[in-house]
Symmetry: C2
Subunit: 565 residues, 2 copies
């Protein structure tokens, strides 16, 4: 196997930067790992297991220098959503299902990478991605109110959950709620105020920001220590004893029943995993002029998920907040990730005891503090302003996630944005053209009344690709145009804006040709682009067309005018 | 309510034509109605019930002069496919479900018509429609082997059914199989040979064709008479006593449980119903220069299905074979349909006894003889030749129907053709341009090496709409082009072929602008179409762009060249 480029070209002076980044990322990764594992309905320590081998696997196969791979909120939510119908959260079957999910996603991602299917991600537009993430984040926020406040409510969708949850808000466990809300407020303050405070105390801007990022770890350790010292352990829902030591490698147990139930969730998790990671990796690569190879990303994420499965954990992907921290801390290469994985080994060997008395309410606060930043209201406004239909795609995807769940939500988003694409292209602009006097140029007669028009020749430019979505409308409108020109003997279609013609549109052109022939009008094409001509030559239209194919509109007009006289 | 145009403008001389057409259509409609009801898993007489009020409702609300509405093979199959998981075929619950399906489809179609959503049908390309119909027809052929040969095999998909059926072929009931196969052969001969034979016997071509169309009725009556005379009734599976008299109007019983299970099948049936009918109606309207109003079609088909529900029957749509017969027999107006409905009333009042001894194997033969014509191998070849990917859409939809069922098949087809659309537009042609010496024209430097190029100005024309499917690729390729021009100071994007820009592409242009700015290269736009400019003005790009927006490429080159010096 070829060594990754970053390793063979590694410079010794990068090491201090990578080491600092690894330290800071680990401090964030420990609380987030514990929290996202519980969000996925799994024992907390699996979040730490998912942060070792997957990181190393990504460093070997991925292409981003700074992407921090591991458990993240959205895929944890999707894991829970896929497994909850099949087994009780935390049960051995549930854990086995999570492993299968990681295995299937990993295989799919890796195989897609080998098949160079990185372009699959193109099915998701920006508003759909942002809408999906926002909806999932709101779903997380609503769901985490339960551990945060110590209430028990169930529901298959966000609305149902909210409906069951709201009446119970007043029945929250006071101690749990007090600790949870305090942690949430502390985390909120730390994110918004701490960096400025530290700068005012004399720290450099970057160091202040980085110290601010350590707030989750500080809050988690303080809470665990306080619960232990105050002896509140029995009165609270706490993480409990984590097994010390490294994950044992497991061979996932693939049963047909799992495969049937989990292939679709795994596929959707793969798609979301990939799209999210590539978006993050690309944003950071743009900053320093680097480039992301989508197919290498597929392989990297695939390897990471396979590694997570063999660690007995759950699906992982690139996380935004940890990637930001990694880049801010100056990471130069994936070695930062590998060092973070080694630090995680140290945590697992020596420090798991620190988290035994950590209240789950504090983990809920960690999740919510991160999730609230994923709700992208600015993005919604941005999409809406650009085009209200894009705003609808955004809001519809988010609502789909809330009303019908993460999988249905993302599928709705994909189908909606594809349908929008068809819709947009289905009302093309058609321009009736005339010749600019004394020239070989042709212009829209509506905008240029001075152009010359031969009543026997109707010249129409179609400003859109011809495909199944607009074929019928174009036929109808062309017939109407011809009918409004009673002296017409020739219809010249100017194809300069047509880059694609599909089979449905080619059929339409044949019908049009036949319809026009009945009225003694000949159909001609002009300025046909090369690829379009290739298609038409493969079809049957050119064998039946009543008129000719001209290189330019001018040539068509000149030739048809002279045959007429 | 306004009277339909064909009624207020009816001419007395049309009446004989309409009456002859009504007679011929009824002779075809009786056996097909009985057959398609059994295909739908319903009592045979419901097929006759579905041929009275729906036809009248369509005549009032529809827009086609010749479309023959009633039970057809594909929707009968879809009805069976939707209801079989929910109730035993023929049971009261099953019949109630069929009524609900007709009611829901009718409501959906009618409401879509009122909302002018006729364009929904554009989601289906020709290869997908043909692939769907071909796959469904093969499914019908395989399924009808059971009643034709008197074997009992089950299976949820075509493959499963075939797997269970083939080993039993030798265990067919000899008498059933003999009658079924004889009927099938007779029908095949009648369709292919009878018209020529009749012409040779001195008949006019049209009359011969029309008489050939009566073959199903003749075969059905002969078989029923023979079984009655030979006293074979007890040894065969026969239609049995049909209730004489007209359908009683029913008020469909809408339960929530039905709604939840049937809304999606009803939606898909509506879509297929509509697409099939419009395709048929349009083909015939084209012949005589008439036009079809898709929204009126939606209302007409909606009214027909509502009428079918109130008749206690099942979903109906426009049928190809009966429409052909109707047109061939010279139908001038929907009065032909109304007269056919009245003739059906006569059949129900006086002639149901004729079909008591009709073997179901003969109905299976009627279905198969019709279905075999729906398998469109020529269409597959046509699509494949035009573009192998369109062939894949055709074959994939057909296979989807066979492997996963009609609903999944049609959804696969829709998603595949939409994905294909994205795929095709996702590798756009980009042309680096230079100026034709001494002119204001710009041409591709690869095809016109003589053009003048200013090394500081890179001019690129993008030959495709900018949208989420190609935004990333275009960004990557533009960056690569700029990198290969080390002296570049300006990138001029020529937007003459761009008719649409979506939010994802607008974001991409912003990233590109920022990336180029880091390298001290300014981004300019030229020849931006009006609608594209409107979008960009609604977005944020024009506030950040490092360069300018020029009306023409020539203006951009002239202005940027002069500022440079």
């Amino acid at each position: 196997m070829k060594l990754p480029g970053w390793l063979t070209g590694y410079r010794r002076e990068w090491l201090p930067n990578d080491l600092i980044a690894a330290l800071v990322v680990t401090m964030l990764l420990v609380p987030q790992g514990l929290a996202y594992a519980t969000l996925a309905g799994l024992p907390a320590h699996l979040g730490l297991y998912a942060s070792i081998l997957p990181v190393i696997a990504y460093a070997i196969f991925g292409s981003s220098m700074v992407l921090a791979v591991g458990p993240v909120a959205i895929t944890a939510l999707m894991t829970a959503s896929a497994l909850t119908p099949l087994a009780a959260p935390g049960s051995p079957e549930y854990i086995a299902g999570a492993i299968v999910l990681a295995l299937l996603s990993g295989l799919m991602l890796f195989v897609f990478g080998l098949l160079r299917l990185g372009q699959l991600a193109r099915l998701l537009s920006h508003p759909v991605i942002s809408g999906f993430i926002s909806g999932a984040a709101i779903l997380i926020l609503i769901g985490q109110l339960r551990p945060l406040l110590g209430i028990h409510a169930t529901g298959n969708t966000a609305l149902e959950l909210l409906w069951n949850l709201v009446p119970q808000l007043l029945e929250a466990e006071p101690l749990t709620a007090a600790i949870g809300l305090s942690a949430l407020i502390l985390l909120g303050l730390a994110r918004r105020r701490l960096p400025q405070l530290l700068v005012r105390l004399g720290l450099a801007g970057t160091s202040a920001t980085l110290l601010g990022r350590l707030a989750p770890m500080v809050v988690v350790l303080l809470a665990a220590a306080w619960v232990a010292l105050a002896g509140l352990e029995a009165r609270l829902d706490v993480v409990g004893a984590l097994p010390a030591g490294l994950p044992q490698l497991v061979l996932p147990d693939l049963e047909w029943q799992w495969l049937g139930a989990l292939w679709l969730p795994a596929l959707i998790i793969s798609l979301v995993t990939f799209v999210e990671s590539v978006a993050i990796a690309q944003a950071f690569a743009r900053k320093d002029g680097g480039r992301i190879d989508p197919d290498a990303e597929l392989r990297g994420l695939g390897a990471a998920n396979l590694a997570s499965a063999f660690s007995g954990a759950f699906p992982v992907t690139g996380g935004f907040s940890r990637t930001v921290v990694n880049a801010e801390a100056g990471a130069r290469s994936p070695l930062a990730g590998i060092l973070a994985a080694l630090l995680m080994v140290v945590v697992l060997l020596f420090a798991t005891g620190l988290f035994r008395t950590l209240p789950n309410a504090v983990l809920a606060a960690v999740i919510m503090a991160a999730a609230v930043n994923l709700v992208d209201l600015k993005g919604l406004r941005h999409a809406w302003r650009f085009d209200p239909l894009e705003g609808v795609a955004f809001a519809g995807t988010a609502l789909g996630v809330l009303v019908a769940g993460v999988e249905t939500g993302v599928m709705f988003g994909v189908v909606f944005s594809l349908a929008l694409l068809v819709w947009r292209a289905s009302h093309p602009h058609l321009a009736v053209m005339g010749r600019v006097p004394g020239s070989e140029h042709f212009r829209n007669v509506l905008r240029h009344p001075e152009v010359e028009v031969d009543p026997a020749q109707v010249i129409v430019r179609v400003d859109e690709n011809l495909f199944f979505g607009n074929a019928e409308e174009i036929e109808t409108r062309l017939c109407a145009i011809v009918e409004s020109h009673p002296e017409a003997r020739h219809l010249i279609l100017v194809m300069s804006s047509v880059s694609q013609v599909d089979a449905t549109a080619a059929d339409m052109l044949e019908y049009l040709n036949a319809t026009l022939a009945q009225r003694d009008i000949r159909l001609h094409l002009a300025e046909v682009k090369g690829p379009v001509m290739d298609r038409l030559q493969a079809g049957t239209l050119l064998g039946h067309i009543s008129g000719e194919v001209f290189l330019s509109t001018h040539e068509a007009v000149a030739r048809l005018g002279s045959t007429e006289t």
